[in-house]
């Protein structure tokens, strides 16, 4: 068993519990385990992968291979609000790139980056299955449809405003 650089905290207890349930299955699924871990930690840092490797007895190299293959897994933490702009076909033909460009300028970050105040991460996705409302973006779990560059900017503004309110 390799040594992992883990600082024990309740998150690991939660993960341990999830893995225990998974391990009851004949063939515990690595991808399920990674999903649970990402739900708990918000992303998949090295220590967590090391922990899973020990628990499921799967080589760390294989886990890396899997994590890097799938877009859904993140190895970097996201900001408080993860903005996902859909660049699927229906959204693309209705101008989602313009929405992306507008938000990128507005937030002054590129895709994959996080704002200096750690409030927003800008990311892209391929279709949420809400194509009837294209163009669409998701902020954490909320979907916003029928966007225009201006409408998208005002939604971000609204988040900022709420954030400022709660902070004082």
């Amino acid at each position: 068993m390799q040594k992992c650089d883990i600082k024990e905290n309740p998150q690991y207890d939660a993960l341990r519990l999830s893995l225990r349930i998974l391990k009851k299955e004949e063939k515990p699924s690595l991808i399920e385990a990674l999903h649970r871990a990402q739900e708990i930690f918000g992303y998949l840092p090295e220590e967590v992968l090391c922990f899973i490797s020990n628990e499921l007895k799967v080589p760390l190299s294989k886990i890396y291979g899997v994590v890097t293959f799938y877009h859904f897994f993140r190895t970097e933490p996201a900001a408080k609000y993860l903005i996902n702009i859909c660049l699927g076909t229906a959204c693309f033909v209705k101008g989602s790139e313009k929405v992306l460009k507008a938000l990128s300028e507005d937030l002054n970050i590129k895709v994959g980056e996080t704002t200096a105040d750690k409030l927003f991460t800008l990311s892209t996705a391929r279709c949420f299955g809400c194509c009837g409302l294209a163009p669409v973006m998701m902020i954490n779990k909320d979907v916003y449809g029928n966007l225009s560059p201006d409408k998208a900017k005002s939604i971000i503004e609204e988040y900022r405003r709420k954030e400022n309110q709660t902070n004082g």
């Binding site: 699924s29 399920e32 897994f73 076909t89 959204c91 209705k94 809400c130 009837g132």
Partner: protein, 545 residues
């Protein structure tokens, strides 16, 4: 005594248009005005016309209210529920005649549709198994378990002419027969709910609107091939589908409809849900199997086909969500009933996700063989904002674009393939004069380059080169030789890639070259983009890598 039944759509699109607030308002008002006994409210899955959400139908009047908000609800409760006068100005309006339509069934969007798969979607509460059972749910499972041998089940499915709805159109009965005949101590049924084609949301809507249909179809498939374990593989991007399927599964297990000794027979069938992790190629059946096994989702060479050697090396059938959702009706109504709908070689209906530049976007189910023109202009209501139709993209990254001159072609597997498109999963994206066809081709290649698993060289390298050429053309730097190279590369990638991702990825390029060659030439010779999408003078800084 219930006097009015109110169906309110809680599909994904309506939820994001504010359905929750509308429903809460409705419930508050019903309580405030003491209407609990007179008005029954049911939250359903997708009703179809997503563009106009939040949506609500009031029976027995059949009034179809669209684009609701809290104020409108207030007025509807006062006028319609209490005084019995439907609020006309909030009803669906036909764009052609600008007339409010007073009954749902005569709305043109619904008139040409035929709902077999979507029969329950938008009509029952997907979170309540009793409502499903009330529509004849699980009767087909009971029938096969008590009255039919597995061979008879396969025979009925074969005779119905049902073909796979996940893209390739392989005859379902034949697939089941192969798996039945394959030797193995254990066999598996996998339901493919990966729906990776961006612009497609049919499977999502079925899983959200009628999850038990999927479970019942899987159990029947399990009985037919001799499997007692099934997996549903669903995209991580569809959290609501996951939630509704999990709930349905729990209820079905409680009722003894899934699990051990189903309906007190000797048949055991359990189902687990597996969540994808955002890789398009995982929709391909062998990659999907690898993903369930916890590996990188890389396709494996076929043969052996999954029916012989699938999940963990055991005989496995993989069917699409929509394919499985047809099964129970085929069993109950008989193969002749099913094959009376459709064309000679393609039977039944197909669900399409209509989006892009049409007036009515949303989910539609039509008899196979209907023309594209009917779907886009009659059901879809034509092109939005008075623009001109240019093309319709069918089949996503493996499909192609169909131009105006071919709009009267019947929609079936063979006809679409002969046009250079494919039936595919069912995404129909309408393009108008503001869309550049070279840009669209480039968009799809960017997608497939990104999603190629990188195992085989033609797909990994060939597609990238094709992309580079298209990029050059959209920047006004293309040459006529580039067109020739593009076509040569397309041929090589098509014929030598390992899996269907690479084998079909050149289709969007080939079909646009076939029907919109002029536009390519204009970009090269005149540095002109008639849709004004491509910019030739300035080099735009791209925000996407």
């Amino acid at each position: 005594m219930t006097i009015l039944t109110v169906l309110i759509c809680s599909g994904a699109a309506c939820l994001s248009s504010g359905e929750e607030a509308v429903k809460n308002k409705l419930m508050t008002l019903i309580n405030e005005k003491n209407l609990q006994d007179e008005v029954k409210v049911i939250e359903t899955g997708c009703m179809g016309p997503c563009q106009y959400g939040p949506l609500m139908i009031v029976y027995p009047d059949n009034s179809f209210y669209i684009s609701l908000n809290e104020d409108k609800i207030e007025k509807i409760v006062d006028e319609h529920f209490i005084k019995g006068r439907p609020v006309k100005e909030y009803l669906w309006e036909t764009p052609e005649t600008r007339k409010k339509v007073e009954e749902k069934k005569i709305i043109p969007f619904f008139e040409k549709q035929l709902k077999i798969v979507l029969g329950n979607c938008g009509n029952i509460d997907p979170e309540n198994i009793d409502e499903y059972i009330g529509t004849g749910g699980y009767e087909a499972l009971a029938k096969v378990l008590t009255e039919m041998t597995p061979e008879e089940v396969i025979d009925v499915v074969t005779k119905s002419g049902l073909r796979g709805r996940g893209g390739a159109g392989f005859p379902t009965g034949l697939k089941w027969k192969f798996a039945r005949e394959a030797k193995g101590d254990q066999k598996f049924v996998i339901c493919n709910g990966d729906e990776g084609d961006p612009g497609a949301f049919m499977d999502r809507s079925v899983c959200e609107g009628d999850p038990h249909t999927v479970l019942e179809g899987m159990a029947i498939a399990g009985y037919a091939i001799g499997a007692n374990k099934g997996y549903i593989y669903i995209r991580a991007e569809y959290p609501l589908s996951v939630k509704r399927l999990q709930l349905a599964l729990k209820q079905a297990k409680k009722y003894g409809l899934i699990g051990k000794k189903i309906l007190e027979t000797d048949f055991n069938f359990d189902i687990d849900i597996r969540i994808g992790a955002g890789a398009f190629v995982c929709g391909e059946e062998t990659a999907l199997i690898a993903s369930i096994e916890g590996e990188r989702g890389q396709p494996r060479p076929r043969p052996p086909f999954p029916a012989q050697k699938g999940l963990w090396g055991k005989p496995t059938i993989i069917n699409n969500v929509e394919t499985l959702s047809n099964i129970r009706k085929i069993i109950l109504n008989g193969p002749e009933w099913f094959s009376s709908v459709g064309t000679e070689k393609s039977k039944g209906t197909k669900v399409f996700a209509l989006s892009g530049k049409v007036i009515n976007t949303g989910l539609v189910e039509v008899p196979i063989g209907i023309s594209l023109r009917e779907i886009i202009f009659d059901i879809g209501g034509g092109i939005a904002n008075g623009k001109k139709f240019k093309a319709v993209q069918i089949g996503g990254p493996s499909g192609g674009c169909v131009s105006e001159q071919n709009l009267d072609t019947p929609v079936d597997y063979e006809s679409l393939t002969s046009l250079g498109a494919i039936m595919g999963s069912g995404g129909l994206i309408v393009l108008d004069e503001d869309n550049c066809m070279v840009d669209i081709a480039k968009f799809f290649l960017e997608f497939t380059v990104d999603e190629s698993c990188g195992q085989c060289i033609p797909c990994r390298v060939g597609l990238k080169q094709m992309y580079n050429i298209l990029d050059k053309i959209t920047k006004g730097k293309g040459t006529m030789e580039d067109i020739t190279r593009l076509e040569e590369l397309a041929k090589v990638v098509k014929s030598t890639s390992l899996c269907a991702l690479g084998q079909t990825a050149p289709n969007p390029v080939l079909s646009t070259l076939k029907y919109f060659r002029d536009e390519y030439y204009e970009h090269i010779k005149e540095k002109k983009c008639r849709a004004n999408v491509c910019k030739f003078d300035e080099i735009e800084e791209k925000v996407i890598k």
